[in-house]
Symmetry: C2
């Protein structure tokens, strides 16, 4: 055996391109086009870098506390910091959740078209999985998840399809799988979905995962979190403390708290994106595109006559980046287009009009 | 089977206490008592929080590049960014390294007294391991690592013993284990050890891990890195991109670059700690303590007549925190004392004098 024979071999997740050219219109990684709350800037201004000499709080107590208080106010729940796990973006949180919850040896279930990181984590942690085909119109049918399994992962709203599932359907999945953990990944829920947080007290098998990267305009701050019963959260903490005790800096923690305290700004920037999304949807229709009803900060569009990959390549030549997934086949003729500012969307539609006119 | 039967059960690493009381003299987690370079403050001042809306660079190119340049200047190596892996502190880096390199099914080797996170990662990733007893005086004998194994992990200088191994001994371990990866964990090397970085070109089985948490006064910034051959580093990158694509914020990356560029400040603050350490060692001897020759920013002390645990508990009542490890038995009568400022050490010795006088 040689030196390189025992390296872990795995096909990693491939994130969207991060072009360094500043002139690019970047509609390919579902970032928020608006800056975070000015309260985040204030926190940065006040932060004393001398304190970097000390380790941060490994328990991230201040942010866990604040998240519990925030959601208690929003959903009338009784969460405490023991119900909150915070990590380096929701990818870190989901990675720890997969390691913590899916050890039965049975296959876990998730849709065939969904966040393409789920099968990467399952492969990395040697978790068996079955993908469940979406129904017509990219719909998730809860009945398809009513079978013996090691756990369930549902992105709601789903990505890249943009389609949201009602809480009645989520509740049926929870009831049908009461002996295993059901993760509801709500990365995009603030753009029109309905959060399962209000189901937490009734369903102890539920873990809800959210992120600061989309609706809070803080993809660069790397903050995600899970909410669940304290026994599930404690098990996640034990796994986290077996990987890396100190994950978030105190500056990240303070920025996270500041964002939560500026609800007005949060609501306004979400509303702006929703209104741009509705306008963009109409415009796409006028140009011969179709898309499902989006509850996210992006649209999943397909053109009636022009192949998606051609539009994708053309837009790149115009310095406009959108996301194209070559597989699975059911979505190979779709483009995922992040909702940018009105100006960015206007530039996109101008380019598309020119292109389609020439066809 | 019930909901809680398939949770991952693991005994996590327990970090040193992080008392929230500001009056505490904190000599228990090997933090640096001096602030980071003022260049780090400058970076923070200039950082535009509006950019938090975007994801950071997943490849952390700027910092990888700068680290390669820095070490090429220091050791006359030919490193490029392809030889550098950056993570959320060296714990994150080591965790990824264990997952990436130790898949042979054979037991890996590390000393019985060393960083107590190694066996936690091995347990988490189901890696078999044998601990190798230290020799008299807490010495590592390279001959003890000359056996069929799945890999080797050596902290150099070792913790909590403070003892450094010469590069001749490291080279023997590398030669005897040329078909497996040897990780040399150099968290404390800047305080008097000799880095194995200069051995990288000759030994393709070597991976050197370092951190910003100790000598660069940036425990709170969460930056660690590994240096190695590009095939080993690429394999680590593949594992990282299967866990979390975006780990470090652009602010952390920029702070890491800034620290590297202020070599004067780095040297001066390391020298100050070494000089305080030498003075503290003499003072401990006067008070009836013994300790090995330390090449780290802490001392590992044992008293000739008073049990370590009693001194530990007494110091706590004086708001002075040091670290005490109950096991293994060979170190149960030792205390690990971080080197603080001269003022902090004076306060420690005043408290110890009072205590020992009363005995």
């Amino acid at each position: 055996m040689g030196l390189y024979d025992n390296l872990r071999k795995i096909d990693p997740y491939v994130p969207g391109e991060q072009p360094q050219n500043k002139d690019v219109i970047k509609l390919n990684t579902n970032e928020n086009p608006y800056p975070p709350s000015s309260a985040v800037l204030d926190v940065k201004e006040r932060y004393n870098t001398d304190n970097l000499k000390l380790y941060p709080d490994p328990d991230i107590k201040k942010l866990s506390d604040e998240l519990a208080i925030y959601f208690n106010g929003k959903y009338n729940t009784n969460l405490t910091k023991e119900n909150v796990f915070v990590g380096v973006g929701s990818d870190d949180v989901l990675s720890v959740a997969f390691q913590t919850f899916f050890n039965s040896g049975k296959a876990i279930l998730f849709p065939d078209v969904t966040y393409s990181f789920y099968d990467v984590w399952a492969d990395l942690y040697k978790i068996d999985y079955d993908v469940v085909p979406l129904r017509e119109g990219f719909l998730i049918d809860p009945e398809d998840y009513n079978r013996d399994c090691g756990g369930v992962v549902i992105a709601n709203p789903n990505a890249p399809t943009t389609v949201a599932l009602g809480l009645d359907a989520i509740e049926k999945i929870l009831d049908d799988n009461s002996e295993v953990v059901v993760i509801v990944d709500e990365a995009y829920v603030d753009f029109g979905g309905e959060s399962a947080i209000k189901l937490l007290e009734k369903h102890e098998n539920l873990v809800v995962v959210q992120t600061y990267s989309k609706s809070r305009s803080m993809a660069g701050a790397r903050i995600g979190y899970a909410l669940g019963g304290y026994r599930l959260i404690k098990a996640m903490e034990d796994v986290k403390f077996s990987i890396n005790s100190y994950t978030l800096s105190n500056l990240q923690i303070a920025m996270g708290v500041a964002s939560l305290r500026d609800e007005d700004y949060f609501k306004k920037s979400v509303e702006k994106i929703i209104s741009t999304r509705d306008r963009a949807k109409e415009k796409f229709k006028e140009l011969g595109f179709n898309c499902p009803d989006s509850k996210t900060n992006f649209l999943f569009v397909t053109h009636e006559s022009i192949p998606a990959v051609e539009i994708f390549e053309y837009l790149k030549t115009k310095n406009i980046f959108v996301r194209y997934f070559r597989k699975p086949a059911t979505i190979a003729n779709y483009l995922r287009v992040t909702i940018g500012t009105d100006e960015q969307m206007d530039a996109l539609f101008k380019a598309l009009e020119e292109y389609i006119d020439k066809k």
